[in-house]
């Protein structure tokens, strides 16, 4: 482990940061969060062209830039800081990772170049009404029909499900239980029998959909035993990217809160001179820095194919989610009344913190999962 970024990575961060600052000011975030898709297709294509965002961790053979996951973390962190509205997490991480891990060579060559160019957007339809990203709970069925399948059932909490051109669905063979019979299937956004409803989300900068499948024809991405593992890899990638996104957002909140306390006068002095305020800020800083260490470590572990990457993904997700939420709560508190108004931007990060806390399962789930891995390490299971 390096525990630090290389000069090249630092320069890359500067470039990404500049791009976000120029292209995604808060006026843009507010404009886009009120649209149906929740992001700007042209800007997305541009960020893929200029920065190669969508293909960072994709091998060059499929049009990616073949970087490691540390660069993914950097991009996610800067996106979280600027609250960029984009299909990055849903399409470039979750869907792309599952294609990379589960797809055939031909499917990768067919699907990835367009995703990486930003020409198409994909989603991973996994969770259902129960609200867990867990294969055991999947009820949607895939019935064989020639060499395709027909999908029947419902998906919920699907990131960018309404905007997606390519839909990857986790489904099970009829009559199977648990992890048995789980497979990955591909269909298109415009498929017959597919109903898409945009869900009314607390976090308006992150669009979620409910998808209903009524005999939707889909192709097999992977219906072998390796499908479950591929889903696991994609979820780990998602958790690590999301953890890095969260620390960027938490840092933005801390920065804005501290800045405000240095300006706001009450009782004849700036409120940032009160120890009650200073000590709170010091604790937030500690929280955020510890969470950064977790997120950076997990990203580096993923880049190095560390054997404990799943355990570290859960550690990072749980730590960053708690730190982000605590920071968001205190950031509003430090702003006082103005922090509770719609016109002030703090609530937009607060809502992102809330959506990030629960998306891909909550900290309690991840701590339990972490303990299961720890038990294996300690040879107790």
């Amino acid at each position: 482990m390096e525990y630090s970024f290389s000069d090249e990575q630092q320069q890359f961060r500067d470039v990404v940061q500049r791009f976000m600052r120029d292209k995604s000011p808060m006026t843009e975030v507010r404009r886009l969060m009120a649209t149906k898709d929740g992001f700007d297709r042209d800007l997305w294509v541009q960020s893929c062209d200029d920065l190669g965002l969508a293909g960072l961790h994709v091998p060059e053979a499929y049009g990616g830039s073949g970087f490691g996951f540390v660069e993914v973390g950097i991009v996610a962190e800067e996106m979280g800081r600027s609250l960029l509205c984009s299909p990055y997490l849903g399409s470039s991480i979750l869907a792309t990772s599952v294609i990379l891990h589960a797809g055939s060579e031909e499917q990768k060559r067919d699907l990835l170049p367009d995703l990486i160019a930003g020409k198409t957007v994909a989603c991973l339809a996994f969770a259902e009404a129960s609200g867990h990203w867990n294969s055991d709970g999947v009820e949607l069925t895939a019935l064989q029909s020639g060499k395709d399948v027909l999908l029947n059932g419902k998906k919920k909490f699907v990131l960018d499900g309404c905007a997606a051109d390519v839909i990857i669905v986790v489904a099970r063979r009829p009559g199977t239980h648990g992890r048995e019979g789980i497979g990955l299937y591909i269909t298109e956004g415009m498929s017959t029998g597919l109903g898409r409803r945009s869900l009314d989300t607390i976090d308006e900068t992150r669009k979620l959909a409910e998808l209903s499948f009524d005999g939707v024809r889909a192709q097999v991405l992977n219906d072998s035993e390796s499908a479950v593992a591929a889903i696991g890899h994609a979820l780990d990638d998602g958790a690590i990217a999301l953890a890095n996104e969260m620390i960027g957002g938490a840092q933005a909140l801390l920065d804005s809160a501290v800045e405000y306390t240095k300006l706001r006068m009450q009782f004849g002095r700036v409120i940032g001179s009160f120890q009650a305020v200073k000590h709170k800020c010091a604790e937030i800083l500690l929280d955020v820095e510890l969470a950064k260490s977790a997120a950076y470590y997990a990203a580096e572990a993923r880049a190095e194919n560390h054997p404990d990457v799943s355990m570290l993904a859960s550690l990072a997700k749980a730590t960053a989610a708690d730190a982000y939420m605590r920071t968001a709560i205190e950031a509003i508190q430090l702003h006082g009344g103005i922090g509770f108004t719609w016109d002030h931007d703090t609530h937009l990060w607060y809502k992102r913190a809330k959506s990030s806390e629960v998306l891909l399962d909550d900290p309690t789930y991840h701590r339990n999962r972490y303990m299961a891995f720890q038990e294996v390490l300690h040879e107790l299971k």
């Binding site: 525990y3 501290v258 000590h279 010091a282 500690l286 510890l290 260490s293």
Partner: protein, 419 residues
């Protein structure tokens, strides 16, 4: 520094050790030889027992000592803070009087800074030094003084001027601890140990030649000591490392280490003993309790992220980058960690937390954790002071308005204690 110079130094030290190292020598004779040759503290000035070598050469030299098991100069205890402070701030007369016997380990030192009335506010010391001809007369009380009961010398911070602002009225003295008027009493802590002392001064004379730096410069000198203390506190864990080889010199070194380390026996417990979490969970069969799992996971995650945060600070330093916020957070993180560990040990042990000693879990170690953890958020700078430092130096937030400006005589103080 070129590779050839590395090799040359390595050859020099190796040749010198081959010639001189004798495991059957007395510890003090051997260390006098080290002091004379400059190989005991090669990074010190030539004039003062060193060879003016860059600190970066030290690993090469240490490795040569380790290779043949040669003992070094005294490197543990408060005497090292004394050495660093004197090297930085003392005059030549003082250096020649004290440094050699610090290196040989003949003299033990203690640090007389904290007082019952000034803990976090160290510059509010009220122990007084009044001039009397060529002497200063010391009156007052110091506290939390490790090793005072067997120290030959003390580093004393005392007030010499009450009519100037508080930081300007302090002076720094070297005090002979073996004289009349100094009473040392052990201070028993809530965990049952007595690792520290209270020291009472009644009309104790100290010669003017024992003032370090100028009269009135005491705060600056004390800051030098504290900077060294912070730098070396990480090394505490390594202090206990002793050789198990046979031989007179090793016996004497082991005895020295045992004496110095005695007050620190419970320090692992005050950090929380995270290493005992898994054994305790197995022992108590609490592994599958969902509440325990959650709390243990939180604790382990905190422990790992604190460690990685320290690693990030070290990596930044190694790359020559300016230190980020991660470098200032370690102390506060350890406090959180220690408290969380005590909570989790209680959760795992439940009723076991009622008992200590041989009745307690892990032969009383867990009880010691529960009773030692409160020290972590106080000793070496309270959490409150840490949060002030972090918010002011890292986040750039303004200081609280102060109430202690002007002549120290007029600053509100704690009532004097009756001894």
């Amino acid at each position: 520094m070129s590779l050839s110079e590395d090799t040359r130094i390595q050859q020099d030290v190796r040749a010198w050790l081959q010639e001189n190292w004798d495991p059957d020598a007395s510890l003090i004779d051997w260390r006098n030889k080290l002091a004379d040759s400059g190989w005991g503290v090669p990074h010190w000035p030539k004039q003062w027992f060193g060879r003016e070598m860059p600190v970066s050469m030290m690993p090469i030299i240490d490795a040569e000592f380790e290779r043949i098991g040669a003992v070094g100069v005294a490197k543990i205890g408060i005497r090292m803070l004394a050495a660093a402070t004197l090297l930085d701030c003392a005059n030549d007369n003082q250096k020649s009087r004290f440094l050699r016997r610090i290196l040989t380990g003949e003299d033990t030192w203690c640090q007389l800074f904290s007082e019952p009335g000034s803990g976090s506010d160290l510059a509010g010391a009220t122990t007084r030094a009044d001039r009397d001809g060529d002497n200063w007369i010391i009156n007052g009380q110091k506290v939390w003084t490790t090793s005072a009961h067997h120290a030959e010398w003390g580093l004393l911070l005392a007030r010499t001027d009450w009519d100037v602002p508080k930081h300007q009225g302090l002076s720094f003295f070297v005090v002979d601890m073996r004289q009349d008027g100094i009473e040392v009493q052990p201070l028993k802590q809530m965990n049952g140990y007595a690792s520290f002392n209270q020291v009472f001064f009644t009309d104790v004379p100290v010669a003017s030649e024992n003032v370090v730096s100028a009269v009135g410069d005491g705060w600056k000198v004390a800051m030098t000591t504290l900077a060294h203390e912070r730098r070396t506190s990480d090394a505490l864990r390594r202090w206990g490392k002793v050789s198990d080889r046979p031989g007179r010199i090793y016996d004497e070194e082991r005895a020295e280490v045992a004496t110095v380390m005695e007050p620190y026996k419970w320090y692992p417990q005050r950090a929380g003993r995270i290493d005992l979490i898994w054994p305790r969970m197995v022992e108590t069969d609490r592994m599958n309790d969902p509440m325990v799992r959650q709390e243990v996971a939180k604790l382990l995650m905190l422990s790992y992220t604190a460690e990685w945060t320290a690693q990030r600070a070290r990596a930044a330093q190694a790359h020559g980058r300016p230190q980020g916020p991660e470098g200032s957070l370690g102390k506060l993180a350890s406090s959180h960690l220690a408290r969380a560990a005590a909570k989790v040990h209680t959760l795992i042990g439940s009723a076991d937390a009622l008992l200590k000693g041989s009745d307690g879990a892990t032969n009383g170690v867990i009880a010691e954790v529960l009773l030692s953890v409160p020290a972590t958020s106080i000793a070496g700078g309270t959490d409150e002071i840490q949060r002030n430092i972090i918010s002011e130096r890292v986040l750039g937030m303004p200081k609280e308005p102060r109430m202690d400006g002007g002549a120290f005589r007029d600053v509100p103080k704690n009532p004097a204690r009756k001894s």
